[in-house]
Amino acid sequence: MSNRLRARGLSVLVAGVMAVGVSVSAFAADREPVTLRYLASQGSISPHELADALGYFKPYGISLENVGYAGGGPASLFALASGNVDIGSAATSAVINSIASGNPFLAAYPTQGINDKVQSVFYVLDDSPIHSIKDIAGKTIAVNTLGAHLDYTVREALHSVNLPQDAAKLVVVPGPQLEQTLRSHQVDIAAVGYWQATFDGKLRADGGVRAVFDDTDVLGEIAGGFAVLRRDFIVAHPDAARHFVEESARASDWSNAHPEEARKVFADILQQRGEKPELASYWTGFGLRPGAETKPHDLDFWVDVLEREGKLPKGKYKAADLLFDPATASKSN
């Protein structure tokens, strides 16, 4: 009698262990740890960095790893192409350029956008003779990188006043040195990007400068840049890619709803990176729509610009080809 009871008890125990084991392994397979390497930008953060700091990725086993700084978007795309990072982040024009030149990328979600609160501003010193877009012809403009948002904003601005696209001289200056090069008269205009709100705030606070124009004057309300993933990464980790996009959008919405707390988290991130945490107080947010939504206009506008420049064949690229759709990715798994 006791033997039979013992045997039954044992089989129940074994069945129980197996059930737990199966469900644990199913759970684990759904949450295999994935590390996404990325390059940070001085004085600025992306929604995915905020999401990581808030712990949104932990339940999904996703962790982000900062492997250094990129001076600008194109540099992070080179790193993405060579496999040194898993997340690239660049202006829309640079992303389209990179895909059109054959790199197997997809734009995942817009990391920042420009609207009436979040803008790139072109500053001059108070005593400068430059007062409007027409005056920038022949002048030197400090930008963080070539081939990205500020470069194309200048081209669009010149196009809007019927000047040749290379009428202004762009000079690459790292973000922390923008103010210095402007004040020491080494450049005529300092272009402070919408993602460099920290340096923008400090520049205004130190005074003696005025704005000539900003990118919303030229481009309207539009997404500024995108996080970029490689196609083979999306195929290998479709769930991680989907969660990456969804949680980053959630972090962006949170920062819109709680700007003061977001600034505190931003200050912590700057502190960890060894930058100046006080700059976080100047932050104006990501400038994204609710849910970090992408409108076709965000991509189509730049496709048109590049087709007009002659860099893209007409009609070959549409927004749908360039954007990662999380719904289709996990369905195909």
Binding site: G72, P74, A75, L77, F78, A81, S82, A94, N97, S98, A100, S101, G102, N103, T140, T145, L146, G147, A148, K169, L170, V171, V172, T181, Q186, V187, K311
Partner: protein
């Protein structure tokens, strides 16, 4: 009789000329093209491998484009004129810096080589300046001279000055003392010894310095144009990369390499003319 015919093989008499022509053609090819292949065979194999690997996709064509696309970009750049302005301004920068370095280094080097006290006085500080990399000092030059042409020309001048100076000093000091002795024995005064023995004897070493400096000038040109420039071949290498125009980037690199080859060859020709008495290896 039949043995002879069978030794000639199965070809009837009428077809022998073709056989002969082919044999002659092969012999001519080997004789004429053989040396060509011996010299350039590896280069040609490299280029063929490049085209094949990138066309078939074994090497990512977005990162290293096939040769035909680079050739098209090169054509558009030079014949189409897209890169001509950049080439002109780069040559201008490097040319001015190099010419100034020559104008400063050669007289100074000759004086320092001949006059001991001057060399003793200047040598320590020149060694200090020489060891400090020009690129490390570039930010200092930018602060002093601004972001314009002056700082770029100056950094190239700084880097090309020292190899030339050192080679000139060495060339002047290392003239064969027996030649000088022989000239003195024949009654030559100091000036004549200098003009007829020391100077010509130093020329080969000076030319080594010139060729080294020309290479350094082009290297520094690329680096100087990557900061604070918006025109130039070095700038175009970076600009094309950031705009994902990779064939243009490679075309600019090829142009830079060609400029280096041309300047080296020009100096070799010049040296051959000036130093007919010594054979110069390219």
């Amino acid at each position: 009789m039949s043995l002879e015919r069978s030794e000639r093989g199965f070809f009837p008499q009428e077809q022998r000329p073709l056989h002969d022509t082919v044999a002659q053609g092969v012999k001519w090819s080997v004789q004429r093209l053989g040396p060509l292949f011996a010299r350039y065979g590896v280069v040609m194999a490299f280029l063929v491998a490049w085209q094949v690997l990138t066309e078939t996709g074994l090497v990512n064509p977005a990162v290293i484009p096939p040769l035909d696309r680079i050739a098209v970009a090169l054509w558009e750049g030079i014949v189409g004129g897209k890169l001509l302005g950049d080439i002109a301004i780069s040559l201008q920068r490097a040319g001015i810096a190099f010419a100034t370095a020559v104008a400063v280094a050669i007289p100074l080097g000759i004086v320092m080589g001949q006059v001991r006290p001057v060399e003793r006085a200047l040598d320590p500080i020149l060694q200090v300046f020489r060891q400090t990399s020009a690129l490390a000092l570039y930010p200092v030059f930018i602060l002093l001279l601004g972001l314009g042409e002056a700082s770029k020309v100056f950094v190239i001048f700084w880097a090309t000055l020292f190899p030339l100076l050192l080679n000139t000093i060495g060339g002047v000091k290392e003239v064969d003392p027996k030649l000088i002795e022989m000239a003195r024995v024949y009654g030559a005064g100091s000036a004549t010894v200098f003009r007829r023995v020391v100077l010509p004897g130093a020329v080969p070493t000076i030319f080594v310095g010139l060729r080294l400096s020309a290479t350094t000038a082009l290297l520094l040109l690329i680096a100087a144009e990557m900061i604070g420039a918006n025109k130039g071949i070095g700038f175009q290498v970076m600009n094309a990369q950031y705009n994902f125009e990779i064939p243009t980037m490679f075309a600019a690199i090829v142009i830079l390499a060609a400029l280096g080859l041309i300047s080296n060859y020009a100096l070799v020709l010049l040296q051959r003319r000036l130093c007919r008495w010594s054979s110069v290896a390219a």
